[in-house]
């Protein structure tokens, strides 16, 4: 059957460079000397550490528990000894550290106890919790916790489940190899997702430069005998693998600004995510490894099944990096980010390590002024006006940039790719976005501080009032008491003609009298308490001291001698 396909706006056709890494099958990686597993690998809250240095962990044991409403667990990738729970450099452009669990493998690679789940008989909420604790996140690169996406929309079911096997970014072939070699298991994961989302149809979008993958997936679908699932070859054009772009190509639905695809009955997942869902549900294995393409400046580009936490240089060494290698890029040449060091760990977001050198990726030509040619607007797959965003970002006019929908930018790099002035446009957008986020954080902090300040003032006022009320009540009570005493005692003798005038005076005197009496009583009660059980020796000593005190006190009590001599 021929399916009608749609087109998204813009896009570019960079050289794909995919053949090199698809000649050899997926390879395993020998255990490294140590694994560095960052606790924060996915979108959402920071997982809290569940292990301590010195603990023995099994393969697949949870070492970071999901914390907060959107968070995903982290697991030990192999069995071994926890050496440290300490900050380590993260695979992030900033080169900053984040809390990581450092594991020394014991070489046995022993699994702990594995819980499997039958997704057909388990309620959806429990399944979602299970996937959260299995650490399943989107493996396409956005690392969004999958359980949060596995909720059907308001109608309780979904029309179309889109599975993203487009893999449009040059050099990267991990999804391609996954579909070629593990299509059957991946399909089981897709069926589980389809069950959870109650999706009517499933469309697996694969770019037509991967005919083997399309054939493998189609064969797996035929073997499963399921209906309503289709592997669709789509035209190769970057960025067809963007979620919104793929949805547009397959269904013709254009998700507008500020809306979600589920509002239109569509949800999109990566093929790698489908495979890890299969592993989690049917084998009980949490997400502890992923496929990573090693390509670029290496002798044997290839895909590896890599444990999360493996140092990148350990992995790249297997592929034979060339001598002039000077950088690792996580991701592809269009969207990838340069790593701050060679030994940063592979994380859930690492789909590719692009090994680079000065010769392979020469420094970009110097940035020239924007000539307003409009090429970037023609290439933008999100239908934005990149040149406008550029001017506003450059002049730090962030409000205007947001008005031009800066946050709809997917940072695909098409605009920078076509720019004849070699302007690093995406860098400007990233700068603007992070500035806007920082401002929002500051604004929130300021608002919270204002609320707290106002509350403190309010509380102080209230306390003052309460104190005044309490005092007034107490004074009134004593006054009443005194008045009652006075009424019983001096009433018979008092003059009936002038009761009003001397009353306040008498009342005041009575109050003072009462207060002094109270003070006397308190003084009597506050006798030293540590003189009960004393030995005769100590008592004698105290008596001695008291006697001396009296001698000292006597001259002081006598009037001072005249000063003038």
């Amino acid at each position: 059957m021929l399916r009608k396909l749609f087109k998204f706006h813009g896009g570019v056709k960079p050289q794909t460079n995919k053949e090199q890494s698809t000649t050899a099958p997926i390879a395993a990686v020998p255990l490294p000397d140590r694994l560095v597993i960052p606790l924060h690998q996915a979108v959402g809250g920071h997982p809290r550490p569940l292990v301590q240095p010195g603990d023995r962990v099994f393969k697949g044991q949870r070492i970071g528990g999901a914390d907060g409403s959107l968070s995903s667990a982290v697991h030990a990738s192999t069995s071994g000894l926890v050496r440290a729970v300490a900050p380590a450099v993260m695979p992030h452009t900033s080169g900053l550290t984040t809390l990581s669990v450092i594991i020394e493998p014991d070489g046995e690679d022993r699994w702990g106890e594995l819980d499997k789940v039958n997704y057909r008989s388990t309620p959806p909420d429990e399944l979602r919790d299970f996937l959260r604790d299995a650490g399943v996140v989107g493996l396409g690169g956005a690392v969004f916790p999958s359980y949060a996406k596995l909720k059907p929309g308001k109608e309780g079911k979904l029309k179309t489940l889109v599975i993203n096997g487009a893999e449009c970014e040059p050099f990267i072939t991990c999804d391609d190899m996954l579909m070629r070699e593990r299509a059957g298991d991946m399909l089981k994961g897709i069926l589980a997702m389809r069950h959870m989302l109650q999706a009517e149809e499933v469309l697996i979008g694969i770019e037509d430069n991967k005919p083997q993958a399309v054939a493998a997936v189609q064969a797996a679908i035929a073997a499963s005998g399921q209906s309503g699932i289709e592997a669709v070859a789509i035209p190769t054009r970057y960025p067809a693998g963007g979620a919104k772009q793929l949805i547009r190509v397959l269904t013709g639905i254009e998700v507008p600004h500020g809306r979600r695809s589920t509002d239109f009955g569509v949800q999109c997942f990566n093929v790698g995510t489908a495979y890890s869902i299969y592993e989690a549900l049917e084998l009980g294995r949490p997400l502890i490894s992923r496929l990573v393409t090693v390509a670029g400046n290496v002798n044997a580009p290839r895909n590896y099944d890599v444990l999360i936490g493996t140092p990148m240089d350990h992995l790249v060494r297997l592929a034979g990096p060339r001598a002039d290698t000077d950088r690792y890029i996580m991701g592809g040449p269009m969207m990838g980010v340069r790593m701050p060091a060679f030994d940063v760990p592979v994380v859930k977001a690492t789909n590719c390590i692009l090994v680079g050198s000065e010769a392979m990726f020469p420094a970009p030509a110097p940035e020239m002024p924007c000539i307003r040619c409009g090429e970037c607007a023609k290439a933008c797959p999100a239908d934005l006006a990149p040149f406008e965003l550029y001017w506003f970002s450059r002049s730090k006019n962030f409000g205007k940039a947001q008005e031009y929908h800066l946050f709809d930018c997917i940072e695909c790099g098409c605009c920078s790719f076509v720019c004849p002035s070699h302007i690093p446009l995406v860098d400007y957008y990233r700068f603007s976005k992070s500035e806007i986020w920082a401002r929002e954080r500051e604004k929130e902090a300021a608002d919270a501080a204002r609320d707290r300040f106002e509350f403190k003032n309010h509380r102080q006022e209230r306390e003052k009032l309460e104190k005044a009320e309490k005092l007034a009540a107490k004074a009134a009570a004593t006054r009443e008491k005194v008045a009652a005493d006075g009424a019983t005692a001096p009433a018979p003798g008092s003059d009936a003609a002038t009761p009003a005038k001397p009353a306040p005076d008498a009342a005041k005197r009575a109050l003072i009298e009462a207060a002094m009496e109270k003070a006397r009583q308190q003084k009597a009660q506050a006798a030293p308490k540590n003189t009960d059980q004393l030995s005769p020796d100590v008592q004698a000593e105290i008596a001695d001291i008291e006697a001396r005190r009296e001698i000292v006190a006597k001259p002081a009590a006598s009037p001072l001698p005249p000063q003038d001599a």
Binding site: H40, M90, H92, T93, S94, L96, T98, E367, R394, K396, P424, D427, Y428, R430, F431, K433, S434, E435, A438, R441, E442, A445, A446, D447, A448, A449, R450, R452, F453, F455, K456
Partner: protein, 191 residues
Amino acid sequence: MFTALFVMTGIALVLGAGLGFASIKFKVEGDPLVDKIDAILPQTQCGQCGFPGCRPYATAIAGGEAEINQCPPGGEEGIRKLADLLGREFKPLSEEHGVEKPKSVAIIDENTCIGCTLCIQACPVDAIVGAAKQMHTIVASECTGCELCLAPCPVDCITMEPIAETVDTWKWRYPVFQIAPAALDTARQEA
């Protein structure tokens, strides 16, 4: 002629009644300008501007009693925003009111703290917890870095720690190359 007079008087009465009604119905409580200024100020309530808190300073700016460059925590950016809002000229931060510092939080040295509660009373945002003769500690997430707790502490056990950048708060750098002035280069060559 009388018709014209009647018509004009009638119109005047109707419009006057309308305006009078509107002025009661749509009466604005407080000064909206003060709110707008207050929204720009960083809400540290530190008093470095010479006013007891951000709102009094906002009121003073709106009343023309204060300059816009008296808020060190707001920094240059805050001054720019105020200048934009009020249509005034930008001016650098006034030195007598302090200097812009990196964002910090107060840290109590818990071994030295004697539990006097003076800092708790000074904190404008209730970010210090503790009780008399009990150790105090600072709720770092609520601390605005106003430094108001430093002065009252009798044992000087509070220090300000700049907030370190994390992966979550890290920002992409401004991609525009800042070209160094030529004079600096030649000076370096001569040296």
